[in-house]
Symmetry: C2
Subunit: 309 residues, 2 copies
């Protein structure tokens, strides 16, 4: 199975309102809710692609129960979340029907107690025994040490499980030093990590810091990958519209699928760009349009060079 880790899971709620006006009372015309946090989104996409996927991380309280009920109803997905005393955070996205704008309200989420963190690490090590690939996704909740991802990467490497890291800031900096197989930063996170603003320079600098392969997500410009086998750019045929966060999680899902299916890098990148673009066309984060995915896959341009090594 493929394992995804989401230490800061969420219940993602979307409201549609006629027009959002501060200080007014709004009748919400439509409510949608789904499990959230980057690793759960990645797992949802992998399950929809037909992969056997297990999720771990933390969930607690009434919101955690709603998240777990939804996960239980997802075919192909196994819930190995660890209970935590606090309630899983909610994120609220308020879509203004007049302007199309989205206003977000993100709860802080619960602090993780030291015994909960220890319990997680035990379950994580057990799960690695049957994992064929692993993604560590998103921000760290309060109470989890800032070097957490570095430790989890070392454990995964000791178990010979290929590991992808998708985070930012100090957890990314420390994680990269633990030599993950793939890091997938966006342009901002990459610039913060390396101090370089030119993507190719920054991607190569991130490799020198320890990552075996670096896949930078550059929004509408697609992906730039620096790997031991070569350097490639993968560009979508048009500009997408929709949820860029959801598109990023589809990139992670496609890269993990590429690892377990032993696809060469250019093929992994083509799938990642097509799946991300198909996600952009879908109505809800983490979902994708199968027809668009297949159609886009034929039209993604991958250019680059194979390393001499």
């Amino acid at each position: 199975m493929i394992l995804t880790v989401t230490l800061n899971t969420a219940l993602d709620i979307t409201y549609r309102v006629g027009s959002l006006r501060p200080h007014a009372t709004h009748r919400v015309s439509e409510v949608t809710e789904r499990p959230g946090g980057k690793g759960l989104n990645v797992a949802g996409v992998l399950a929809a692609l037909g992969h056997d996927v297990t999720v771990t991380g933390f969930a607690g309280g009434g919101t955690g129960r709603i998240v777990r009920d939804r996960l239980a109803a997802t075919p192909g997905l196994t819930d190995a979340l660890v209970p935590t005393g606090g309630a899983t955070r909610r994120t609220i996205a308020v879509v203004d029907e007049r302007t199309g704008d989205t206003t977000r309200l993100d709860e802080p989420g619960p602090a993780i107690a030291p015994p909960e963190w220890s319990a997680f690490q035990e379950i994580y090590e057990d799960l690695l025994g049957t994992a064929s690939a692993l993604a560590l996704c998103g921000s760290l909740p309060p109470g989890v040490p800032v070097g957490a991802y570095a430790g989890l990467i070392r454990t995964a490497r000791a178990a010979a499980v290929p590991v992808l890291l998708d985070t930012s800031g100090e957890p990314l900096r420390r994680g990269v030093a633990a030599r993950p197989d793939i890091v997938k930063p966006n342009g901002d996170a990459l610039a913060e990590l390396t101090g370089a603003h030119e993507p190719l320079r920054a991607t190569r600098a991130a490799r020198r810091r320890g990552a075996h392969a670096v896949v930078a997500s550059l929004g509408a410009q697609g992906l730039l990958a620096a790997t031991p086998e070569g350097t490639w750019r993968a560009t979508p045929p048009g500009r997408g519209h929709g949820d860029p966060a959801g598109a990023d999680d589809s990139v992670t899902a496609a890269l993990l699928a590429g690892v377990v299916e032993h696809r060469p890098w250019p093929e992994r990148l083509a799938h990642a760009v097509a799946l991300a673009a198909a996600t952009v066309h879908a109505p809800a984060a983490g979902e994708f349009d199968r027809g668009a995915y297949e159609e886009l896959l034929r039209r993604v341009a991958v250019t680059g060079e194979v390393s001499a090594a």
Copy 2:
């Protein structure tokens, strides 16, 4: 016990944010959540006053479980809510820390299926057997007939349980015709019911439509009551600040307590105004400041005349 009916229960969530700006992403600095819907607020106040109180109405889904978990933790309160297939609605109040303004987002709530409405009516009739007073509170959810309160009032009167109705619009108009013991409209609902904008005239007109006693809540001006024993005004000593909805629910709680304690009307009204004002001073809706309540009780002015009848 005192029974309160909340057909449209809610999970009331309050967020504090630095400054609410449409189209921005906000980190919520503080989250509070509590059972909501007017009848649950009334029950919370009654339980805090030391009364034995039972709540019924509908609850469902993950949000319904959170509401019921909270109710189970309230001493003196018995949960007799009826399960419904849809999820209990959330209400979100976003408090802007810069301006103090509150922006509200109210979910629509689930539709009640005909078998659920039948199940509720059976449980309601059973509960009337041990009820000493009853409040029917708030709006009707989709699926419940507009004449629902009128029917519930007739059942209560047949069981000789004193009944207070606190709603508005067509459910109020139909309910009043079923001759409830007390109706407690605010100024707007009373004007809509009677067509009269002068409170004394409107209050007396509402009595002629069928209510035995009418207690109009006039905000900072306090209460105006037209009853078979006389007409009174009860005025708070100062102007309150805070949650007027919570204050209204405290008025209902005090009036019910007055019924079961067989207090004369002027005393009931003094308690209602003092409790409402003490609620206004408290940080969260439905809670009140005991010290303020006792102190205010000595300072409420009740003026009026006893009927010759």
